[in-house]
């Protein structure tokens, strides 16, 4: 099995005359926490949609979890995990019902669902909350559950789209510990965030400006390259040069 989970070359998306994503090229390796940063309007969302199989590139080539980004969007969707700040769980379903729903969407069999759900509840210490409505859970629990549900089919790579927006500092850190843990056990994490301290937690970080990947390296080397104290400063140096708004 290859150790490169995401590999894209010259990936481009045009809407009419507008080039939202302009020839981006990079690889993401197994077990990496890959931070995907960019100013508002830099093309992050469009790029991420192509990587998740939600939209086909205009040109370029690449694979995600072994499937072709130009042709196999459906297969990509089945083999990745996805979690966003906005859409995660159904508040008016119980913990158990949410797990069952997502397991069903990812095509797990009844017996697989049963065994993984039981294991998941035990691992999260949620067994006593099995029949609680998700809406009644504290935010930190909900976040843990939505990450667990997004990975119930054991994907090789999970896409997290601003998973911690508006979340309190303690819950935000608990969430990152979960990310660390998942990466430690070999899951690849692809994450976007506006919190620059979270960029420091990533193995490598890419920064998009005006549809292009302008920088890509470990946080330490990026800070060296841009003679900056923090990732916040690196981001500012790059984003200040942006020509387009959103």
């Amino acid at each position: 099995m290859s150790d490169v989970i995401i590999s894209v070359k010259d990936l481009t998306k045009r809407f009419g005359d507008f080039t939202a994503v302009n020839r981006i090229t990079f690889d993401v390796e197994r077990g990496e926490i890959f931070g995907f940063l960019g100013a508002n309007g830099a093309g992050k969302t469009t790029a991420m949609r192509m990587l998740c199989g939600l939209s086909y590139p205009t040109s370029g080539s690449g694979t995600v979890a072994g499937y072709d980004v130009m042709r196999e969007g459906e297969m990509i969707k089945r083999h990745i995990g996805y979690m966003s700040q906005r859409f995660s769980l159904y508040n008016d379903l119980t913990v158990w019902e949410n797990i069952r729903l997502f397991a069903g969407i990812y095509g797990l069999s009844k017996s697989e669902t049963e065994s993984r759900a039981t294991e998941l509840l035990r691992r999260l210490n949620f067994t006593s909350e099995r029949d609680t409505l998700v809406g009644a859970l504290p935010l930190g629990w909900k976040q843990k559950l939505s990450f667990a549900v997004a990975t119930i089919h054991r994907p090789e790579v999970v896409f997290l789209d601003e998973p911690t927006g508006g979340v309190d500092p303690i819950t935000r850190r608990q969430f990152w510990e979960m990310i660390y843990e998942a990466a430690d056990s070999g899951t690849t994490i692809f994450v976007t965030t506006h919190y620059m301290d979270e960029a420091e937690y990533c193995t490598r970080v890419s920064i998009m400006v005006d549809g292009e990947v302008r920088a890509l390296d470990t946080p330490a080397r990026l800070k060296e390259q841009f003679v900056a104290e923090s990732m916040d400063e690196v981001f500012r140096i790059l984003a200040r040069g942006a020509k387009r708004g959103e």
Partner: protein, 311 residues
């Protein structure tokens, strides 16, 4: 007289206590920040102070007027930018501005000196529909409309949420300029790093205020007992630590003597310790951690927030 005076206000929605006995005052001309995550009660507080809701208990004044009895006077003199974009998407930039001027019975020219530094940035797009603007431009238009009647108090509910770091910083520069012009500003944000841009801040969580002070004095309370309401306050000190394997470092350091807690903080982990902590012992306990570094540091607002939340 204070520009805003909130006395022991509570508000519930069904079983949810959105605000639970909140009190604070904002002085005239002050830039005051409500810092806290979702669910802290920030938006409810804004809706009370802009007279869109009535409190269950307690009272409040804005510019000397009671928020329940004298709501009409308040509505005339405050500007409000809600968290969700609430201008008319199918009117142009210019039409929105004229509309809000007409609502308040003022002429755009009369307030132009106040609005101009912000509005000029979007003026090239004045014939564009508001719904077609970028997020940053919408934010500037909303702020222009909130200022059109020259309000004495400006309420801004999470104006920088979801906005990138550079645009956020530019927005805070605009607020500093407005403050120079004598406008009182109450602004909320979930980003702890923005707290330093305020004169004073209130740290809020789950309907309560954890602490109110200048950003500088809030962090200076980290090592002392004064902020501590728990029965057995322990003086604590803060270190930053790092090693090659940051995840292992996090798990291992929590087991060391004198460590109260350890949590990720940017490129380092922050280590909160009590008086039984000894730095040499700590290094000895973690000899197998490659590249271990430890140094004492000054706490940030976020460290303080974490500490207060745990109490």
């Amino acid at each position: 007289m204070s520009a805003i005076k909130v006395e022991n206000i509570s508000k519930s929605f069904g079983k949810t206590k959105a605000l639970d006995g909140v009190s604070f005052e904002v002085a005239r001309g002050e830039l005051f920040g409500l810092i806290g995550p979702d669910g802290a009660g920030k938006s409810t507080l804004f809706r009370l102070l802009t007279t869109l809701l009535n409190p269950d208990f307690g009272r409040a004044e804005v510019d000397g007027f009671d928020i329940v009895k004298e709501y009409r006077d308040i509505r005339k003199r405050v500007g409000y930018m809600p968290g969700r974009f609430s201008l008319y998407q199918d009117l142009t930039v210019e039409e929105n501005l004229n509309f809000f001027a007409a609502l308040f019975g003022v002429k755009v020219e009369d307030t132009y000196d106040l609005v101009a530094p912000i509005y000029r940035q979007i003026e090239p797009f004045k014939t564009r529909k508001a719904g077609k603007l970028s997020g940053g431009m919408k934010q500037k238009l909303a702020l222009s409309c909130a200022l059109i009647h020259r309000p004495s108090v400006l309420f801004l509910d999470e104006p920088t949420t979801g906005v990138d770091a550079v645009s956020r910083s530019e927005f805070w520069d605009m607020l500093s300029d407005l403050k120079q012009k004598g406008i009182t500003i109450l602004v909320s944000t979930p980003y702890m790093d923005e707290a330093s841009r305020c004169d004073r801040i209130a740290l809020c969580n789950e309907g309560r205020i954890l602490s109110i002070n200048t950003p500088k004095d809030i962090v200076s309370g980290f090592n002392s007992h004064s902020q501590n309401s728990s029965p057995n306050p322990v003086p604590t000190t803060l270190y930053a630590i790092s090693a090659e394997n940051m995840y292992q470092l996090l798990l291992s350091s929590r087991k060391c003597k004198g460590v109260v807690e350890c949590y990720p903080f940017g490129e380092m982990h922050h280590l909160v310790v009590d008086e039984t902590f000894d730095i040499e012992c700590f290094k000895k306990e973690l000899t197998d951690m490659k590249g271990l570094r430890i140094e004492p540091i000054n706490p940030t607002i976020e460290d303080m927030f974490i500490k207060l939340m745990k109490q």
